[in-house]
């Protein structure tokens, strides 16, 4: 099937198998390897991207379902050489170790702050509860998102 997907502002037209997962489309077809794959059952969330601004697990979305839609991946967070505050927050607060869950966490964090610029700890935990991290025990991810909330205008 021929699909047209706008990823990080750039439109890509490709012929794909109907069964191709969005995560594999992004990684293997477009070379956007920042989005990871981890479980196939929508449990781990390392594949989270934004589809029309809403976090989705791209291992459970077919590429053809993204036809005509806009996808934002971790590679799209940095704009004009400026890191998104959530990216800065994860560095400031040691919100990552192995880095594998980080892109998905960042995409959900961005969505959360877009809807709720001042989330409390419970709201942050709720927002990331569909995603797993095996390294941080979540503590510093929560702090990272709080840092981003408190530094929405931060430049880096």
């Amino acid at each position: 099937m021929r699909i047209s997907v706008t990823v990080n502002g750039q439109t890509h037209v490709r012929d794909v198998e109907p069964r191709l997962l969005l995560v594999h489309f992004l990684r293997d077809e477009l070379g956007l390897t920042g989005t990871h794959w981890g479980c196939d059952t929508s449990n781990c969330g390392v594949c989270v991207v934004q589809l029309d601004g809403v976090p989705v697990k791209s291992c459970t979305v077919l590429a053809v379902m993204a036809d005509g839609h806009e996808v934002t991946t971790v590679e799209g967070l940095e704009k004009d050489g400026e890191l998104d505050p959530v990216q800065q927050g994860f560095v400031q607060c040691h919100g990552l170790q192995c880095g594998f869950c980080t892109p998905g966490m960042l995409m959900t964090a961005r969505w959360l702050l877009d809807r709720n610029p001042d989330p409390d700890e419970g709201e942050i935990r709720e927002a990331i509860s569909g995603q797993l991290c095996r390294c941080t025990g979540y503590e510093n991810i929560v702090r990272s998102v709080r840092w981003a909330a408190e530094n929405q205008e931060a430049k880096a």
Binding site: H36, V74, H94, L96, Q97, C98, F100, C133, R134
Partner: protein, 789 residues
């Protein structure tokens, strides 16, 4: 946060790529002409293979090769050695021995076609009775799993003991109080979010094999590939790229890696193989599965005198535990824990079952997790028997500072400790007395609340080569340090980060020794062509071994710099003094202001400066560090839980963790590692379980069934620290990566059992799911009937 000239908090250098989605993991490797592999796995736990028909798969238009056990047998690669000097089938030839075992390997043009072709392979199985419950593995008439081993008539792998049985028995015979408790540390899996995989690229022209693989031990992999496949070792390059979590599960060599290599040799093209999550959970290294009976002898007033343990260890179908040859049960015999106990004895029997191989994986420091859980549960069982406060009982029996270095009844030499101080700090932080008062009030209202304590001593940094090896390879690690003419440095180490932040912390070690900025030190690791030999990162050994090597090699560089500085300053080397000031490291002529910075010396070392005889110039150095002893970090953990008696739901309300890992290179990173381990403890205590049905079907083969803690199950961790440096480590550091995983499960379980005490519960096995807790409240705690005689 500013960058310190050495130790201290600094942001991680590696973060820059990860937050941009520019990490480079194995599945990100793309090579021209690359093919994709997929593994066909056994649906049976135990079955003869009567035939394997690959004709239809081979006819698939996108398939380039189908490899079976028979193919490998022709290359003498159908079996490979495990890390315990057992053998493991790469692809099964005679029979399958666990569900998920590798049977065939398809190489195709793309991922999806490789998977499609698996469906076209027809395997004729003849099912056999499996051995699933380890407690039946030694029964008369039990099916013999490893009939590939000549002369084998049962499923016993080893019987092993440590300590002094007679001495322990004598104490027990006259003890005022004895307690006994059976407990299971169930089978769990480390489940890193990145599964295992490999890209193999064999170049027929040069004869060079390059393997990208997320291995925690790249050098050991290279040597084993050379030994197994007969490939010359200098023609093998193992590249361990960014790793999406390891936790011990990425130490060993898995059949898929070997298949990818063979696939590349057969097709002449690079081959990528990535397992899926079910494959990861079903076939890669599990952890624990220890059936234990603990016994403690004590005086009526709570002085612990002796401890005995019997263990039945389920090792799965192949003995694949990574551990020193001398110690088939790993370091389990450190089970006297943090206490002053005069006599101890343990015996461990290892058995084969029809389950996946593995054993020492999951941040456990070679079975210390099991040992700590055992002793910490037993202390609480004793406290319940005596009616004593568990904190007081621990305080009374902990080793005292003046007893260090302390040799345990089973032969471990603890390097340093100040245990009471650490426990007291944890109690102060938790507000222990106030918590007990709150608990009493809640109990009066029928609201179960529990306070659980765990005090652990770890033994990490394996290890002294006379005692410790993996498959005969000594556990020393190398380091190389190059200092460029402009004073910038490149450190090459054998260990490999899986998220521990070595690019930052190892740069900090060099920075501290040379008085330069960590930003001026590049750390190279994970590539066997670029780094010196060493056994890698597991068992919390990076800082104790490679970190020590790094400090020592930097000191060598500093000494070379002294020689050059003496030529520069026209002074005798012994008249020079080293100092690190605001502007960095420098050699100064004692009593004068004449001084040269390390950068000035580096430039001079590469210049036309005339050097004395015997001084080579340049500052580069290498070293190999053979640790004289392990390091023994320790800590005190206190967990507070609330239990809903109607549903059995456990809520971890608070968790206080005081860790003592000696000197901390980067406290931010230490705290992060502790956080992660504490989450592991909550997960193992309350959620994680690799269960099997009686046919050997794996009941936890996805994240829908194998439950891992999310941000909602984890409380906000409360950390504290004490610092008792290791006396023998060059920078006084001890390993810490696994401390929290080792120490925390017992704290959570002790808290839950404490909450259930009013219901008469003295023990229930992990995971303490709502169902398990509810049954315990009803007087029917599951699995407490485990009997090992």
């Amino acid at each position: 946060m500013s960058t310190p000239m050495g130790f201290g908090r600094m942001h991680r250098k590696e973060d820059a790529r990860f937050i941009r989605g520019r990490g480079g993991y194995v599945d990100d490797v793309q090579l021209p002409g690359m093919l994709y592999g997929a593994v066909l796995r056994s649906p049976h736990a135990h079955a003869w293979i009567r035939s394997v028909d690959t004709a239809a798969a081979e006819a698939h238009p996108k398939v380039r090769a189908v490899i079976t056990g028979a193919t490998l047998a022709g290359l003498n690669l159908d079996w490979m050695p495990t890390l315990s000097a057992d053998t493991q089938a790469v692809l099964a030839t005679d029979k399958v021995r666990f569900q998920g075992q590798e049977v065939a390997f398809v190489v195709a043009e793309d991922r999806y076609s490789a998977r499609d072709a698996l469906e076209l392979i027809d395997v004729d199985y003849e099912p056999l009775d499996p051995v699933i419950d380890a407690r039946t593995a030694l029964d008369e008439g039990a099916p013999v799993i490893r009939d590939d081993q000549e002369g084998r008539t049962d499923n016993r792998i080893f019987d092993w003991e440590a300590g002094d049985r007679a001495a322990a028995d004598a104490v027990f015979a006259r003890a005022e109080v004895t307690v006994s408790q059976d407990m299971l540390y169930p089978r769990v899996h480390p489940a890193p979010l990145e599964t295992c995989g490999a890209v193999a690229d064999f170049d027929k022209v040069t004869g060079k094999l390059t393997v990208w693989c997320p291995t925690q031990a790249p050098h050991a992999h290279r040597t084993l590939y050379a030994m197994v496949a007969g490939l010359p070792e200098h023609k093998i390059r193992v590249i361990s790229p960014d790793i999406g979590g390891g936790f011990g599960g990425k130490v060993g060599i898995y059949p898929g890696y070997v298949c990818a290599i063979v696939g590349s040799i057969v097709t002449g093209r690079p081959v990528k193989w990535m397992e899926d999550r079910s494959e990861n959970l079903m076939s890669t290294a599990f952890a624990r599965d220890y059936h234990m009976r603990g016994e403690v002898a004590a005086t009526r007033d709570g002085r612990i005198q002796a401890i005995r343990v019997k263990v039945l260890a389920d090792h799965g179908a192949f003995n694949g535990t990574a551990q020193p040859s001398k110690f088939p049960a790993g370091f389990f015999h450190v089970f006297t824990g943090s206490y002053d106990i005069q006599a101890a004895h343990c015996e461990v029997t290892g058995v084969y079952t029809n389950k996946a191989p593995g054993g020492v994986a999951y941040a456990c420091s070679f079975r210390i997790t099991e040992a700590v859980y055992l002793v910490e549960r037993m202390i609480d069982v004793l406290a319940a028997e005596l009616g004593a406060d568990p904190a007081e009982l621990r305080m009374k029996n902990l080793l005292r500072p003046e007893q260090f270095p302390y040799t345990t009844p089973t032969g471990w030499e603890y390097d340093s400790g100040d245990y009471q101080k650490t426990l007291q700090l944890a109690m102060d932080m938790a507000g222990y007395d106030a918590l007990r008062r709150e608990q009493a009030e809640k109990r009066a209202r029928g609201e179960p609340m529990g306070i659980g304590i765990s005090f652990f001593t770890e033994a990490v940094g394996a290890g002294p080569r006379k005692h410790m090896d993996i498959l005969g390879l000594g556990m020393a690690d190398g380091a190389e340090l190059r200092v460029h003419p402009t004073g910038k440095a490149v450190l090459r180490v054998s260990c490999q980060t899986q998220g521990q932040g070595h690019e930052t912390t190892f740069a900090q070690i060099v920075a501290a020794e040379l008085g330069i900025s960590p930003d001026d030190v590049e750390v190279v690791h994970g590539d066997t062509d670029q780094t010196p030999f060493g056994l890698g990162t597991y068992g919390s050994r990076s800082t104790p071994v490679s970190g020590a090597a790094t400090a020592m090699v930097a000191r060598k560089v500093r000494e070379r710099a002294r020689q050059v500085a003496s030529a520069m300053l026209e002074a005798s080397p012994q008249d020079l003094e080293w100092s690190v000031g605001e502007s960095g490291g420098a050699w100064t002529v004692a009593g004068t202001g004449a001084s040269r910075t390390i950068q000035e010396i580096a430039l001079a070392a590469h210049s036309n400066l005339e050097l004395p005889d015997g001084v080579e110039g340049h500052l580069d150095a290498t070293c190999v560090y053979n640790p004289p002893n392990l390091t023994y970090p320790f800590g005190a953990y206190i967990c507070v839980v609330d239990v809903d008696p109607g549903t059995g739901q456990v809520k971890v309300r608070r968790f206080v963790a005081v860790d003592d890992c000696g000197n901390r290179i980067n406290p931010m990173i230490v705290e992060g590692q502790v956080h992660g381990g504490l989450a592991d403890g909550v997960g193992m205590a309350l959620m994680q379980l690799m269960a099997f049905d009686e046919e050997g079907n794996h009941l936890g083969a996805s994240f829908m069934d194998y439950l891992l803690p999310t941000a909602l199950e984890c409380p906000s961790w409360e950390l504290g620290e004490t610092v008792t440096p290791s006396p023998h480590h060059p920078i006084g550091a001890k390993g810490v990566g696994e401390s929290a995983t080792v120490g925390s499960p017992a704290a959570v379980v002790n808290a839950v059992i404490d909450a259930l005490a009013p219901y008469g519960v003295r023990h229930a096995d992990m995971p303490l799911t709502p169902a398990a807790v509810w049954r315990a409240i009803q007087g029917d705690p599951i699995r407490t009937d485990l009997a090992i005689t």
